[in-house]
């Protein structure tokens, strides 16, 4: 056994051990989880639909055989319905999955969304050129844009969504609250109207009483939203929200309302036709949120009793009827701990998290939207809408550094866990795709289904463990942590779940002693396997090699700051590792070229992923005993003092610089604002100091790690 330190191939590797069981739960798919409506081929809808979107939702609406393995539940609706599809794409998206999968693809402009996916002229041209009869807008982009719906109507092209009137009424948060009040829907106390100035905002906030929520009137999806607990935060929040609202929606109007502490975010899916019929398709629990962006959703909610569900559903339908709603829509409620619920807003589009509703109700929402747009009546009655089983959705996306900021990159390796049953992955990317700086950082929606919640959760754990993503950072460690958290499992959640459970941001999985032993043992076993392999040479060595077959090793593994001495013996394929006063048996047949390394630890199955990423995985360094001893003579590398320099944490654009050389800043004072992935992030000083130099100016594009400001 070679004792010479670490082969770098391994030393720099990081091990992401995901403690999940591998036993595949091959329970048959709950029979009722199929779409209850078998498509009727005689019912003619459209010949050709243009999908004015990108990414996973564009693929979802269209056709993607390979991405779905719900046996009977295929989500490629248009293909099923025999409809031709037209994709639109920006120039950087020309090789994107959604563009390649469509029957026709039209480039509508350069990368920035305002010039492509929001470019109505170009999209109208594409409709004319391809002769599409209808447009499905997906979510985001033009999905809730009344102008777009109007222009389509003027050209006689069907908009697969609600009427202009409903979009307008519900799209404006102020108007929508007035309508909801009139329709006898519970609403949150607050100020209904446009807030013009900072001082006015502060005054209103004081009247309502803190805490208050400041949000963009036209907004949605958490953008342009700020919570404020005092006057100072109100001022700051007003400024940020109006800027974000202006850049995201082109409309800087804001409203202020009472902020409900510890609420749950539960929304009701509604479906209405053009004949005055409206249904509620049960609820989705979306309380697990980060900065008002949903992270994990489930349907149904553990919290609602049938009575509350019915009340919420009926109010949602009342609202839909009040605006003559047609198509699929979502009415969002905040629910407090006493099951009081308040109307939040209505989204007049297909929601990101619609698949979980499809799983438990068996309805294909996109198909229903297309039927409704064509003018058909709904087949279903309210009593036909079931809750079958449980579905959970995890949004897999590319976060950046703990909780913080988005990153971008290229997916160098990508493998979805479709080998498992009852797993649905809606994604619009493949190996080699770029997670572009211009668009949403979502990688995919991972949906698992089970007859019970426990079953669905166990499946989710497996699916996350088998998900291979390399080249970009991702939030799978966080997702896994959430779905295995005792509070989440017991259903004790609110929209404050993440801030409460991870007040300082998610720092990665914290290992218990036995799990740590298992991790250390796996690392040792893998290290030895790699070592033994590197002694094998094609055709053998000229000089007879290895002295004696070695089967005993003394190693030292560094994990974080801790050092763990261990003794390893090997017999056959089984490694017996003695570490930290315990014995662990590790075995497995590994192909070191594969990203997934299944192994058996003390008799239970585990999935190990060896990555070259330094994200929230565990960083281990395996050394021989000798190397570990000598290592103590090596000097510690002194890290750069980062308190006096401010570097860009991500690629983006500088929106504002609040300091100039010579200024004195206090700890926590804003230094500059950087915009990336459509989010504005305020960078603040870590200590009180004088500004030495400023290396950026507003409007400038900066890369990750670029020096922005130096303090003295």
């Amino acid at each position: 056994m070679a004792a010479h330190g670490l082969p770098p191939s391994l030393s720099r590797l990081l091990f992401a051990v995901k403690y999940g069981s591998l036993q595949s739960r091959c329970c048959a798919l709950h029979s009722k989880a199929q779409y209850s409506t078998v498509h009727n081929p005689g019912e003619k809808t459209f010949d050709k639909i243009l999908i004015a979107n990108r990414g996973e939702i564009a693929c979802r609406v269209r056709l993607l055989d390979t991405l779905i393995n719900f046996e009977h539940m295929n989500s490629h609706t248009c293909k099923k319905m025999g409809i031709q599809t037209v994709a639109v794409h920006s120039d950087v998206d020309s090789s994107a999955v959604h563009a390649k999968m469509a029957d026709e693809a039209v480039c509508v402009g350069p990368a920035p969304t305002s010039k492509s996916y929001l470019n109505m002229d170009a999209i109208m041209d594409a409709i004319r050129a391809t002769g599409a009869q209808a447009v499905h807008p997906g979510y985001g982009f033009l999905s809730e844009n009344k102008e777009f719906a109007k222009r389509l109507a003027a050209e006689g092209v069907a908009f697969i969504g609600p009427d202009t009137h409903a979009i307008q009424a519900m799209g404006d948060k102020i108007e929508s609250k007035l309508i909801a009040k009139a329709a006898k829907v519970n609403t949150i106390p607050g100020f209904d109207g446009v807030v013009e100035t900072v001082e006015e905002a502060v005054k209103i906030a004081q009247e309502i009483g803190y805490p208050v929520m400041i949000k963009a009137s036209a907004g949605g999806g958490g953008k342009g939203m700020r919570i404020s607990w005092n006057d100072e935060e109100t001022r700051e929040g007003f400024r940020f929200s109006s800027q974000e609202a202006a850049s995201s929606f082109g409309d800087d109007r804001l409203l202020i309302e009472k902020y409900i502490d510890n609420p749950r975010h539960i929304e009701i899916q509604v479906l209405a036709d053009k004949h005055g019929n409206a249904l509620w398709l049960n609820e989705r629990e979306c309380s697990i949120q980060r900065r008002n962006q949903k992270v994990v959703e489930e349907a149904p909610s553990t919290f609602l009793d049938p009575e509350t569900r019915r009340l919420m559903g009926e109010q949602a339908v009342q609202l839909a009827k009040a605006v003559q709603y047609s198509s699929a829509g979502t009415v969002e409620f905040l629910v407090d701990s006493k099951k009081n619920f308040y109307f939040l807003e209505m989204n007049t589009r297909l929601q990101v998290e619609h698949p979980i509703t499809e799983c438990i109700t068996g309805l294909d929402l996109v198909e229903q939207m297309i039927r409704v747009a064509k003018g058909y009546q709904l087949h279903h009655k309210q009593e036909d809408i079931p809750i079958n089983g449980w579905a959970i959705e995890s949004r897999v996306y590319d976060p950046y550094k703990s909780f913080g900021l988005p990153s971008i990159g290229r997916l160098s390796q990508y493998q979805e866990p479709l080998n498992l049953s009852n797993v649905r992955v809606d994604s619009g990317i493949q190996e080699g795709s770029d997670i572009s700086i211009y668009y949403d950082p979502m990688i995919s929606k991972l949906v698992t289904y089970g007859a019970t919640r426990a079953e669905a959760l166990a499946k989710m754990e497996d699916a996350l463990d088998n998900y291979v993503i390399r080249g970009v950072t991702h939030n799978i460690p966080l997702l896994r942590e959430i779905i295995t958290h005792p509070r989440f499992i017991s259903g004790d959640i609110s929209t404050n779940f993440l801030p409460e459970v991870y007040p300082d941001g998610f720092k990665g999985h914290q290992l218990e002693a036995d799990k740590r032993r298992e991790l250390l043992a796996s690392a040792a076993a893998l290290y030895i396997t790699a070592q033994l392999r590197s002694q094998k040479v094609l055709g053998g060595l000229r000089v007879s090699s290895a002295p004696v077959e070695c089967n005993h090793w003394e190693l030292c593994v560094e994990l974080g700051d801790g050092r763990h001495a261990m003794e390893v013996t090997k017999s056959g394929d089984v490694f017996t590792v003695e570490v930290d006063g315990g014995t662990v048996e590790v075995s497995g047949q590994w192909n070191l070229a594969s990203p997934l390394l299944p192994l058996t630890i003390n008799g239970s199955h585990r999935m190990l992923q060896v990555t070259t990423h330094t994200h929230t995985h565990f960083q281990l360094r395996v050394l021989s005993k000798l190397a570990a001893e000598l290592n103590s003579y090596m000097p510690e590398k002194v890290p750069e003092d980062t308190s006096s320099i401010l570097r860009s944490p991500m690629p983006g654009t500088i929106v504002a610089v609040s300091v100039k050389p010579g200024d004195t800043v206090a700890a926590g004072q804003e230094i500059c604002v950087i915009e990336a992935m459509k989010m504005q992030n305020s960078l603040t000083a870590v200590k009180q100091a004088k500004v030495k130099s400023v290396h950026c100016k507003p409007g400038e594009t900066v890369g990750e790690g670029d020096l922005l400001v130096e303090l003295e």
């Binding site: 330190g5 770098p8 191939s9 160098s412 040479v537 290895a546 002295p547």
Partner: protein, 535 residues
Amino acid sequence: MAAAFSVARSSCGLINGLRTSLRGLAPLKHGAVAASVPGTGLHRGCRRYSVGHLSVKERVDEKRRAALVGGGQSRIDAQHKRGKLTARERVQLLLDPESFVETDMFVEHRCSDFAMEQDRNKFPGDSVVTGRGRINGRLVYVFSQDFTVFGGSLSGAHAQKICKIMDQAMTVGAPVIGLNDSGGARIQEGVESLAGYADIFLRNVLASGVVPQISLIMGPCAGGAVYSPALTDFTFMVKDTSYLFITGPDVVKSVTNEDVTQEELGGFCLLCNSIFFYFQLVADLSLSSFSDRLVPSLDTIVPFESTKAYDMLDIIQSIVDERDFFEIMPNYAKNIVVGFARMNGRTVGIVGNQPKVASGCLDINSSVKGARFVRFCDAFNIPIITFVDVPGFLPGTAQEYGGIIRHGAKLLFAFAEATVPKITIITRKAYGGAYDVMSSKHLRGDVNYAWPSAEVAVMGAKGAVQIIFRGKENQAEAEAEYVEKFANPFPAAVRGFVDDIIEPSTTRKKICRDLEVLASKKQVNPWKKHANIPL
């Protein structure tokens, strides 16, 4: 009176003392053999072939013990305090456990000037540890300079030890690894030390291309000593604790009046503690890799706009076994990427233009970096895979004055003379003379592929149109015509200058199969004393 007497006596003692010390000096002056045989043992007349009360075995043991501690514990501690390991610790760490076989443990220096002949100035083994051992089972010869003995300075004996293992390595055909940590020449020995350097240099040169030679700079390396690493195939330096320069900061200051630190003058230029990795790589491994694996991500890696950059390392990593690419000189001339990897277990050398840096153009530094790597591969029978995306040679006076013609010619020379299997993939641009240079078909490329995104042409559309259609209007139309005609792989493919236009995702599969076939490639250059590469 009594006092005066005592003074006289003591001064007498002084004189006596002086006399003795003069006597002691005498043999030194006349160069006669000095120390080794203290008379007492002989007087006893016993037949133990030894001196004093010790048997040979005991003396051997004592010498070995002395050799193992080098310059003594206090110096070892000092070495550790500097964040450095001792010569023996390094050897132990580098080689497989218990595989080190040491030679010349008893060699001592032969200098007798400046009191060097005294016992306290003699260290068994002198200031270097030499021998052979194994790295992952592969035989290597090693020398490791011992900074605890006279600052690792090079004596005649020291050089002789190194030469001995180099000669052995050459006779058996095993690599030589030098762990350098030396203050320079042993000044007490004068020209003998210089002769020692020259002996090593000569062997470095003779061994070049016969056995791989690797230098690890693990401390200071200055003056004449730098030329040995410079002559070897690869030089690794330890960050922060090693320096490599011809003259130190003091000399620089006195000659040119420049103020520089050791770090600025000769700090690390290439961090690599991965010597093990290198050894794993240079020997073929029986891996359980997937040679037929398709790499779908390659189909989208080259951007549509030919002005947009991408990372050549992405391509390389996704094609090679286990994404393991050992890059050589990753921080120097980044517009060309060179390094080792495996294809289906077989070691290959990879050369690729890096579009991410300076558009991947060839300039003086990148040409030299590439040329040296190609020649190493050729010398040791390592097949070369070349990924081409090159817009041409970098224009400008700096390059021309610096000798881009001569340096560029080195890369051309290296590729042309190489007789190992050569596989070339044109991923995008292959413009002008740079196309010829980058392992083209014309330079005996064995297999040359083009991706559909390849553009093999004399130059980019814009420049070409400005020349062909000079003064004509409608440049845009002419440009479109040029793009249609030339900015694609067909002109090369119809002439047979590329063998095939392949889907990027199949590249790995094809290379693996070609390498299998080319394993039996035989090609010899005309006999010559040696070629005359444009140095």
